[in-house]
């Protein structure tokens, strides 16, 4: 599994020790381990903040069950910020 967020890449799902193996616990893990400063730029409550789209294997996470999606070993999870410039 890959988590891409600019420079952060985490491989090997087993090393993450996620409590439930779902996106909800992945976000919790990211909040605790990768977001030292200003987590509000990424998170809101237990989910991502408005304006961030979560992609699981190049598909909108809404199609996959959002927070409840159970991560598989080869999954590619990508967090993208929507752009507004032009």
């Amino acid at each position: 599994m890959w988590v891409e967020r600019r420079s952060s890449r985490v491989s090997d799902l087993s090393k993450l020790e996620l409590s439930h193996g779902d996106i909800r616990s992945l976000l919790k893990w990211i909040k605790q381990n990768l977001l030292k400063e200003r987590p509000e730029l990424f998170m809101q409550g237990e989910s991502v903040r408005p304006g961030i789209l979560v992609l699981i294997n190049d598909a909108d996470w809404e199609l996959m069950g959002e927070l409840d999606y159970k991560l598989q070993d080869q999954d590619n999870v990508l967090f993208i910020s929507t752009l507004h410039g032009g």
Binding site: K36, E37, R38, E40, L41, R49, P50, G51, I52, L53, L55, D58, A59, D60, E62, L63, I80, S81, T82, L83, H84, G85, G86
Partner: protein
């Protein structure tokens, strides 16, 4: 009875010609008022200048010899053909924003022969736009972008009708405007306008081809098309304003919106000519650094969407600046974190320099901006390093303060002035310095310089670069 039918036909003809005359008079008034020749000019002031209703495009039944010559290379494509070309010539497209996306988009739409292009932009051409807004030019600095774009496009293809609107799209006018066009291209640069354009398109039932770009990335989605989702289906809530980066702050490589605007133009042409779009319920993501495009499958239209859902709560246009908590421009926001006693003006700082008052000037901009220009006597520590309380940086700052302090006779509150580009980050930095442990920094009085280096450039030193 035959006389009655004839009378009805004649009176219909009269009212049609009267409408035509009204249109001509409005265009004449606009031309006399200094608008671009031959086009309808529209501004915020005066309802007459805002074309209430545009006359319908002439229903061309066949291509002229000149049309065939001009469009021959695309006419021979079986996917387009004469049928597609005639459809284009009967189509009108509203371009919201004549910037980095809108310029290439409008250029290809005009070249391909759409019937009418509405060009919306409230801004004027500035030098710092020219690296990406390639329809404008040095000679047209200060001109409204909508007028400048129309003038450039007319040189390319004079058979297209151009309607420049030199005003921002507003909730008051958006729906009326969008209703008069067949396809809308969102080439805007801010969040409130994106929600406004989306809602207007949903309420008017128009397909929306939406592009965006920042730094080295671009995104494109077609919304509200053939049962697909709308912008609100995807983003029911606006992002917190502090998480939104504009092109002035974040930077953008000009060719990146250029590429996205071209793909936007392609999708508009496919929709208008009847080929259909590839990006309904799909997002195209472009990563210019890696040269990679990704196609993202999106959620379908949401039954609970506030505007396109089964029981919409948004049934007319609202106040989008209030909804998003930000203004409908891409201009930089002005923060007011500090009280006035913690701030000095550039004039006051200049006086301090002239009087050789001992102090430390701390520049908190990112390195890439310091490389562009700086004040030679400034100590440089980026805000990000201060935010993470980087030890090395804080020690360096302390050392520099001590050195300067020795030149005074034990002043109790040693002044540190903090500067950045516009005076926002410098306020955040002053806050951080004020909250540092008393042991090292207690005897320091930190203040920020209002308006930052750009104020310095415009008010004190005109040779200092503006960026």
């Amino acid at each position: 009875m035959a006389g009655g039918a004839e009378a009805a036909r004649l009176s219909a003809e009269i009212s049609r010609r009267e409408q035509e005359l009204r249109g001509l008079r409005e265009r004449l008034a606009a031309v006399l008022a200094g608008g671009a020749a031959g086009d309808v000019a529209a501004t915020e002031e005066g309802a007459s200048a805002f074309p209430g209703e545009l006359p319908p495009l002439p229903a061309q039944a066949s291509l002229s010899t000149a049309d065939i010559l001009r469009y021959s290379r695309q006419l021979v494509l079986p996917e387009l053909g004469v049928r597609g070309q005639l459809r284009l010539s009967r189509s009108s497209v509203l371009v919201v924003g004549c910037g980095g996306l809108g310029c290439p988009l409008a250029q290809y739409l005009a070249a391909a022969g759409v019937g009418r292009l509405g060009l919306v932009d409230h801004d004027v051409v500035e030098t710092s736009n020219l690296h990406r807004q390639v329809l404008h030019g040095e000679a047209r600095r200060g001109l409204p972008k909508a007028v400048s774009a129309a003038a450039a496009l007319r040189l390319l293809n004079s058979t297209v009708q151009y309607v420049p609107y030199c005003c921002a799209l507003s909730p008051r006018t958006a729906l009326e405007l969008v209703r008069q066009y067949d396809v809308v291209a969102d080439c805007s640069d801010n969040v409130p306008t994106r929600y406004l354009v989306n809602d207007a398109c949903v309420l008017a039932g128009k397909p929306l081809v939406s592009g965006s770009a920042l730094r080295l990335e671009g995104q494109l989605v077609v919304y509200n098309y053939q049962g697909g989702p709308c912008y609100r289906c995807l983003f029911p809530k606006p992002p917190p304003p502090e998480t939104v980066t504009n092109c002035a702050d974040g930077g953008v490589l000009g060719v990146v919106p250029g590429i996205m605007g071209c793909i936007q133009a392609l999708e508009v042409l496919k929709i208008a000519s009847g080929m259909g779009s590839s990006f309904s319920q799909f997002m195209l993501m472009f990563d210019a650094r890696e040269g990679r495009f990704r196609n993202i499958k999106l959620r379908p239209k949401k039954a609970d969407c506030a505007v396109c859902g089964d029981n919409p709560s948004v049934t007319c246009l609202q106040d989008y600046e209030a909804f998003c908590g930000s203004s409908a421009t891409d201009k930089c926001r002005t923060l007011h974190l500090l009280s006035s006693e913690d701030r000095v003006s550039v004039e006051e700082y200049k006086q301090l320099l002239d009087e050789q008052v001992p102090h430390v000037l701390l520049d908190v901009r990112p390195q890439v901006e310091v490389d562009i220009c700086r004040l030679v006597h400034a100590v440089h520590i980026p805000l990000s390093k201060l935010e993470e309380k980087d030890e090395e940086c804080l020690e360096y700052l302390e050392k520099r303060i001590c050195e300067e302090k020795q030149r005074t006779n034990g002043q109790t509150y040693f002044p540190v002035y903090v500067v950045c580009k516009l005076g926002n980050d410098s306020q955040k930095a002053v806050r951080i310095l004020q909250e540092l442990p008393v042991k090292e920094f207690g005897s320091v009085s930190a203040k920020d310089i209002k308006g930052g280096l750009m104020a310095w450039a415009s008010k004190i030193d005109p040779t200092f670069p503006q960026y």
